[in-house]
């Protein structure tokens, strides 16, 4: 017993004598002030020693590899860009197409070097493309094989692609929006043997950093600024600030918050709304994209209620509109993002520069837009919903809630559809639905049921949105419930194994108004048969002759043609009339940046120069803006 007591006393003594502020050593051999520590949302990387990014899904992408090590012809910023939305990166100018879009010429920037000192040239581009043409199973093999007939290099800084068929958006393959097809170092890969089995460790990079060290168990990767960073494409904008950048797996959302409160994690990729509010309250050095509410960065992605149009239940436009008019967007915003949502009534996300391209110009049309219920015409658009959400939050959040209408529109979005159960009743009755007691029945006499598929705790925000919508429909007398799909959501969505699903079928460039990024895949030519996998992104399998016409017209015009915005507005009007999916809000990412060690992060108010969400390839531009705090 004496031994036990002695042990207890030693433990208590150790506890009392250890200083409360004792700091854990987080990085060995590197000064903390030289290292930017960033969350890699991929978590623990299974195959940590794999840096051959061209082998599909073999290793990590966002462990710094594609942000700091890779490069390609062009970048489009999801926000405003360091020097405009479009950046010629490895290319020295924009793509040059011939008149019928069957040929694309790319002029390459000179003086760019790989990290091993070899100069980048047209030979690398030709090698990259030809390798993908003759090798199946690489990440971009299929995209190259579908499009490219041949490639040639008239000189060391020019490449010419001959295409198999006209494609006015072929350059999108080499234009970074999150990622794109990266260039391969010919001098390394031509000696590699079987490319599918070549790990490319250590990677030879074109970006401004090289791999310093990594954890073979996949928990962290540290990148070091190249000594010859002047020979990389970002040098045009200055020297990258951090000497080292560490991409780590910090664990679940609660631990990310703890790590940032301890100043051990400079950039959280994403946390829960509750985690964000905790950091806003408790940390003086943490900030989000917005200084105050809603903090989060709205990704150029549009979560929505997606109906399965191969299910006869959703054939009726009146029924789809009725379902939209039964949603109270304020409640959905509160349930999903605790109010920190940026809403959109129309079929493009309210993010990046899209509000100025589409939302503002469409406002008048939306106010005048009418829906015929069969008994009367209603104007369903309420331009004040964003303001109403701001007003609801102001009593609890105080001066964190903006009061200027422009700021409110930027942070919370503009209007949405007014809840109108009476109009919904009229529309459903016109579509042949009947109400008996408090329950609705379909035209063929069955109980009107809708199963909304949600992802569950893998994506709690979207799941809460789905639950709230199901509840609102249920209150109206529809038998609506949610089905939790967890990890099988992608499979169910892709194979059409759902009735309605909370997901997104719309993703845009963010900075550039061209909609072909997602819209081209909405053409009826790509709709899969029921049960067969649907290619991204028309998950609803909706088709419409007018939509096909719009898409075909977009294919005929150049990427920067001003007609593109006009055609984009036609698409928005069409989907507002037809309501094939119900747009909800932007996918808001609670990226939180700690200014203890670094300043110069992008933000909505004064520096919207890029997306702060650190798994985007575009965040390479963040490095040239970051500076040590002291």
């Amino acid at each position: 017993m004496r031994i036990l007591r002695s042990l207890a006393l030693v433990a208590i003594a150790w506890t009392l004598t250890t200083p409360a502020n004792a700091q854990r050593q987080q990085i060995s051999d590197l000064p903390r002030k030289d290292v930017l520590i960033v969350e890699n949302p991929e978590g623990t990387v299974k195959n940590a020693g794999w840096f051959n990014i061209w082998a599909v899904n073999a290793g990590s992408q966002s462990n710094g590899l594609h942000q700091l090590g890779m490069d390609t012809f062009w970048y489009i910023d999801p926000n405003s860009g360091v020097d405009g939305v479009w950046d010629n990166s490895l290319a020295s100018e924009k793509p040059i197409y011939n008149s019928d879009f069957t040929e694309m010429t790319v002029k390459l920037r000179k003086g760019i070097h790989w990290s091993d000192g070899v100069e980048f040239s047209a030979a690398d581009v030709v090698y990259t493309i030809e390798t993908h043409m003759k090798t199946n199973g690489l990440r971009w093999s299929a995209a190259v094989q579908v499009n490219v007939a041949s490639i040639s290099a008239p000189d060391s800084s020019t490449v010419v692609f001959k295409l198999k068929k006209p494609n006015s958006r072929f350059h999108a393959l080499f234009t970074v929006r999150w990622n794109a097809m990266w260039m391969m170092p010919k001098h390394v890969f031509e000696k590699a043997g079987d490319l599918i089995k070549f790990p490319f460790d250590p990677p030879v990079t074109l970006g401004p950093y090289v791999l310093n060290s990594y954890d073979t168990d996949g928990k962290w990767f540290i990148w070091r600024k190249r000594d010859d960073w002047q020979k990389t494409t970002v040098a045009r904008f200055g020297e990258p600030g951090p000497k080292y950048v560490a991409y780590i797996d910090p664990g679940p959302p609660d631990k990310r918050v703890i790590a940032q409160l301890n100043h051990e994690l400079d950039i959280i990729h994403d946390t829960s709304p509750e985690g964000m509010f905790t950091l806003a309250k408790q940390s003086k050095t943490s900030r989000g994209w917005f200084k105050g509410f809603p903090y989060a960065h709205p990704d150029p992605t549009l979560p929505m209620v997606i109906f399965n149009h191969q299910n006869p239940l959703f054939k009726s436009r009146d029924m789809r509109w009725a379902l939209a008019l039964l949603i109270d967007m304020k409640a959905v915003s509160m349930a999903s993002y605790r109010g920190a949502a940026t809403i959109s009534a129309i079929g493009v996300p309210p993010t990046g520069r899209y509000p100025e391209y589409y939302h503002e110009p469409m406002e008048t049309w939306l106010k005048d837009f009418e829906v015929d219920t069969g008994k009367r015409k209603i104007k369903p658009y309420d331009p004040t919903v964003g303001k109403q959400i701001a007003d609801m939050l102001r009593p609890s959040m105080g001066d964190q809630i903006p009061s200027d209408p422009k700021d409110i529109a930027k942070a919370f979005g503009r209007g949405w559809w007014k809840p109108d159960p009476q109009a919904a009743t009229e529309l459903l009755e016109r579509a042949g639905f009947t109400k008996r007691g408090n329950e609705w029945f379909t035209p063929d006499g069955k109980r009107f049921t809708i199963r909304i598929t949600v992802e569950g705790d893998l994506r709690p925000v979207m799941t809460r949105a789905g639950s709230m919508i199901a509840q609102q429909w249920r209150q109206f007398g529809i038998d609506a419930t949610t089905v939790v799909a967890q990890g099988s959501l992608l499979d169910r969505r892709n194979s059409g194994d759902y009735e309605a699903i909370i997901s997104w079928a719309v993703e845009t460039w963010g900075g550039h108004p061209d909609l072909s990024f997602f819209l081209d895949s909405w053409h009826s030519q790509f709709i899969a048969e029921p049960g067969k996998p649907q290619p991204p992104r028309n998950w609803s399998r909706w088709s419409h002759p007018e939509l096909d016409k719009i898409i075909e017209q977009i294919r005929q015009i150049g990427f920067d043609d001003p007609k593109g915005i006009e055609l984009g507005k036609e698409y928005i009007k069409l989907v507002a009339r037809e309501m094939p999916t119900i747009p909800l809000m932007a996918y808001n990412v609670f990226t939180v940046m700690d200014e203890t060690y670094w300043t110069g992060y992008p933000n909505a108010e004064t520096a919207p120069y890029t997306d702060p969400v650190p798994n985007w390839g575009n965040t390479k531009y963040m490095m040239v803006k970051l500076r040590p705090k002291n």
Partner: protein, 334 residues
């Protein structure tokens, strides 16, 4: 001992049968997953970037060929057994072309190290305190230890883990809360690295010990409470044998037999990993690997981990069965 060889052969046969049935069930369950690894790969490769639908169709076909998923389920089953018989689980479908066995062997030492230490610590401390508490019924310290053990026992593991995380990670941040060792540290068989490993394992091990202590404590206390009433203990006391000797040689030794069985079972289960511990403390190991494999439908990897676990647990049981007749005459007699 004449019947022992027959007993041994019988038990070995049972072991092989259990392993065969277990692996077959694991094969069926993993292949019944609604998650298609090809679709997961396509989603990962295309969900952010520019995508042409024709290219996706072509990609789907070439991935099926690459992953060897084109044959029927029977063909895949035959291939699986062919590979398993030579210790090869094939390539991981979510980290292709890395072999499953490489991924498992990389993660396994972390899990085995963590769980072996925590299991042994829990067993030793729990049994020692339980034995003492069962023998020294009037000790206030041990009664308090009993209350503490009973109070900790019903608390869900993740609550204990999160409390430790908040206390030592945030309120009083003296211990590392993530990873197996400090970032950028050179691995090696030296004091600095081993010390660093030990510090990083304090919280995960403490959480496991606190969560598991109560069971061993209460079990041992109950066993000792029974043993102390046995005649031979009473005679020893009357004969003036020292209490420490009675406790060590007469009471604890006899009470330990069922606890040793429990320990062997627990050590066998080590290979199934400590999923919540690894998730909460960001500790590398089999649990993290398994969760990630399940999420992306990597049934090669899930099956590889399941096979290792089935063999390990069955082997632990086999070992106990084989050792028991040698240790306990009552079992031998049967």
């Amino acid at each position: 001992m004449r019947g022992y060889p027959a007993y041994l052969i019988g038990r070995l046969g049972q072991f092989l049968l259990v392993v065969f049935i277990g692996i077959n069930i694991a094969f069926v369950v993993t292949h019944a997953t609604p998650i298609d690894p090809v679709e997961q790969t396509i989603a990962a490769a295309t969900q952010f970037g520019a995508t042409s639908p024709e290219a996706i169709a072509m990609m789907r076909q070439s991935l099926k060929e690459l992953y060897g998923l084109e044959g029927s389920l029977w063909e895949q089953y035959a291939t699986f057994w062919r590979r398993v018989s030579v210790g090869d689980f094939g390539p991981s479908l979510s980290a292709f072309p890395a072999p499953v066995s490489t991924l498992i062997l990389r993660a396994l030492p972390w899990t085995v190290g963590l769980l072996t230490v925590s299991t042994l610590l829990t067993w030793v401390i729990g049994n020692l305190l339980g034995g003492l508490a069962g023998y020294y019924l009037r000790s206030r310290t041990l009664r308090f230890a009993g209350i503490l053990a009973m109070a900790l026992h019903p608390i869900p593991y993740y609550i204990i883990a999160f409390v430790l995380l908040i206390v030592f990670g945030y309120l009083w941040p003296v211990l590392p809360i993530t990873g197996g060792h400090t970032m950028n540290m050179q691995r090696g068989f030296n004091l600095a690295f081993i010390g660093n490993l030990a510090i990083h394992s304090i919280l995960p091990i403490t959480s496991l010990v606190l969560a598991g202590l109560g069971g061993w404590f209460m079990g041992m206390r109950a066993l000792v409470s029974n043993v102390v009433t046995e005649d031979y203990v009473v005679y020893a006391e009357l004969g003036g044998v020292r209490p420490q000797r009675i406790l060590g040689s007469y009471v604890m030794r006899n009470a330990l037999v069922p606890q040793v069985t429990g320990l062997a079972m627990s050590l066998g289960a080590i290979f199934t990993g400590a999923i919540i511990t690894e998730q909460v403390f960001g500790y590398p190991g089999i649990g993290t690997l398994l969760v990630s494999a399940v999420h992306v439908g990597d049934y090669s990897l899930v099956l590889g981990i399941a096979t290792v676990s089935i063999v390990a647990v069955s082997f632990a049981v086999l070992l106990i069965d084989l050792l028991y007749p040698l240790l306990d005459p009552r079992v031998k007699a049967r």
